[in-house]
Symmetry: C2
Subunit: 392 residues, 2 copies
């Protein structure tokens, strides 16, 4: 590890389950993360519907917050004045922020996250973001004010926010753009990455480590070019971004021709992916960390993660649960499953009690941490296949 990141380390060992699967450990100034790990989204500096002690009690190792949201509300300068994001939101463990780019381009390309991930079609909305060499120009969704996010600004904002892990600004291209655009965009992202590294160095006080991003869409040759770029630059870790294709098959293909070629001595993050089968796929290709709003988002709509269900979750509003005395998931050790019946949580949703969202969120966080712990156990004992059968 270079001097840039002397307060951080990443160690790993290949496990032999697949040529690439591995167990690892990311050490940050706020503690260590055993990998593979799931990073939970505290989008606006808060885990939606749960307190940080509850998040920790559910086995969470690391959370992330979104630079885009935090810089618009309450503003990075407020967070800095209040002592940084860790203190502000009451989380004392490892933390990552993204660059702000994903949300800007998600809005700018007129789409939602699903579209960016390649699962939808272009919406045909007029673009609300302008991309220039300097950076991205957009308007605040809060008050319409004009903002420009440059690579330097993104790093500065992330420095003010103060998480352990920060990410370079990139243009996140959606699925529907063509190869020519994807290539040009990737080259722009690489120039932005170099400017991000330079800005990172200007303010580096040892408290943060920088991730580079691999773009290139669904095109293997472009991904290879992006891989060479990040491998050759002094990032602490790597994050696979951009479009991962139209379906799970294409996602596996893109991850398969990307992750294995990234340097082994750096942690690899797969941006925005959190489906259970996708996590097993990623782990087999050497992915160390995942993030996704899915577990906490579906919780607020009554979706409780369970094993052995085709959709991966049950919908607690369903009348079938009205008198179901079982916990959400048999054998789950979370507070929700240890205390409440499905019937009770069904009642909470019928009665519009927000406690229902809180209880399922708690469960879903616990469930994901259980899953990742079991995956680490499977890797340590070379039984990943058996673990997968238990969960998928």
């Amino acid at each position: 590890m270079s001097n840039r990141y002397s307060n951080f380390s990443f160690t790993y060992k290949l496990t032999g389950d697949t040529p690439h699967s591995r167990l690892g450990k990311i050490v940050t100034p706020h503690g260590a993360v055993e990998t593979p790990a799931f990073i939970f989204c505290a989008t606006k500096g808060a885990m939606k519907a749960v307190t940080m002690p509850q998040v920790k009690e559910a086995g969470t190792q690391i959370i992330l917050s979104n630079t885009y949201h935090m810089m618009l509300q309450p503003g990075a300068e407020v967070v800095k004045k209040m002592g940084g994001l860790h203190k502000f939101c009451g989380w004392d463990g490892p933390m990552l922020t993204d660059s702000g780019g994903f949300q800007i381009f998600s809005l700018g390309h007129g789409g939602v996250a699903a579209e960016i991930k390649g699962k939808g079609r272009p919406q045909g909305m007029a673009s609300q973001v302008k991309i220039k060499e300097e950076g991205a120009i957009f308007r605040s969704y809060i008050d319409g004010a004009k903002w420009i996010l440059t690579p330097e600004k993104s790093i500065q904002v992330q420095r003010d926010l103060g998480p352990d892990l920060v990410v370079v600004l990139d243009e996140c291209t959606p699925f529907h753009v063509d190869k020519t655009y994807t290539r040009q965009s990737m080259h722009l992202s690489h120039r932005w990455a170099q400017r991000s590294l330079a800005e990172f160095d200007r303010g580096n006080n040892g408290a943060q480590a920088l991730y580079g991003i691999i773009q290139g869409g669904v095109y293997e040759d472009l991904r290879r070019e992006a891989i060479d770029f990040v491998n050759d630059h002094d990032f602490f870790g790597h994050a696979i971004g951009g479009s991962l294709g139209a379906d799970k098959g294409q996602m596996a293909e893109v991850v398969g021709f990307t992750a294995p070629y990234l340097r082994k001595d750096r942690p690899i993050h797969l941006l925005g992916i959190g489906g259970i089968s996708d996590i097993f796929m990623g782990v087999r290709q050497g992915i160390d960390t995942f993030d996704c709003v899915h577990p906490t988002r579906i919780a607020r709509h009554g979706g409780a993660l369970v094993r052995g269900n085709e959709r991966g979750h049950l919908q607690i509003r369903n009348a079938a649960y009205r008198e179901d005395s079982r916990p959400l998931q048999e054998g789950c050790a979370c507070h929700t499953c240890q205390t409440y019946s499905r019937a009770y949580i069904h009642h909470l949703f019928k009665a519009k009690e927000i406690l229902g969202m809180q209880l399922i969120t708690l469960h879903n966080i616990h469930f994901m941490n259980d899953l990742l712990a079991d995956i680490r156990h499977g890797l340590a004992t070379k039984t990943l296949g058996a673990v997968e059968k238990k969960w998928v």
Copy 2:
């Protein structure tokens, strides 16, 4: 105490702070309540925005749930099947349910709680409830279905719900009705109370104790008649209900000519009152328990209880708190005040994060429990006046 309530007890001692103020202890099958105590409203079988372990950790001794809401959703038979309200909602301490009457009449008289308490004016809405000798006929706000709540039905539903303390059905008269109506209504409530006692005896298995209610509005002679009635019947405890007048002055007057004449050997509850100065007023007249949705309701709208503020709370949405690094209340030991700044909670409300409601709810519960603990300390050390100066 009579045989009816052999698993319960109430002990007290007059403290000498006033002729009536006292320290007491209500013992129930689910534990003891040191009095004076505040009873928190888990209206629909859930403390809004907090889990029961959090409620307990905040020092809560006893909660109540509303029969009216529970019988409409999910239905008393579901709660019974699920093992009763304690198990259903995860609370293992003392619990009270009301009779269901308050909500029915609150809807029927076209008013809201504030109106019933005598703080508002009649709304002029057509009555949606019919009161007959047999009981109250009303329509469900959920599906429009016709219901009849008799004194017997109320006791049966409360038996199915299974709390420790249950309450007779009464007609809760609002402020705007005249003395003639108040008298007739009170007599009806007394006949209902006798039927409630009879039904209570038919199903009594020692797990519950019954409270009688004192009606009579703002009329001293009617209140005296109601006091004689409850004193002469074998209730475990007494609850002061009905209109307490138009303002705090009249409330103090009504409580003053009611509470001191109730039997001393039974606990006295003041229904629906939770203002800080009102609690001191009640304690001085011998009130043992209070309940009110106020502390948890204002929390969900950004109102955090604090000392030395004219309104009794601060409004966290106020721009003044944007960069306020102090806790909600200096010196408060709750998780919220120990962890977060006003600036953070202000941010949560601006960002529409429900965690904001959760954190203030936690604080307000802790605050009320602190207040009541301090009042008990004041009574034990004959320093109630000094305690009041600290809080009001």
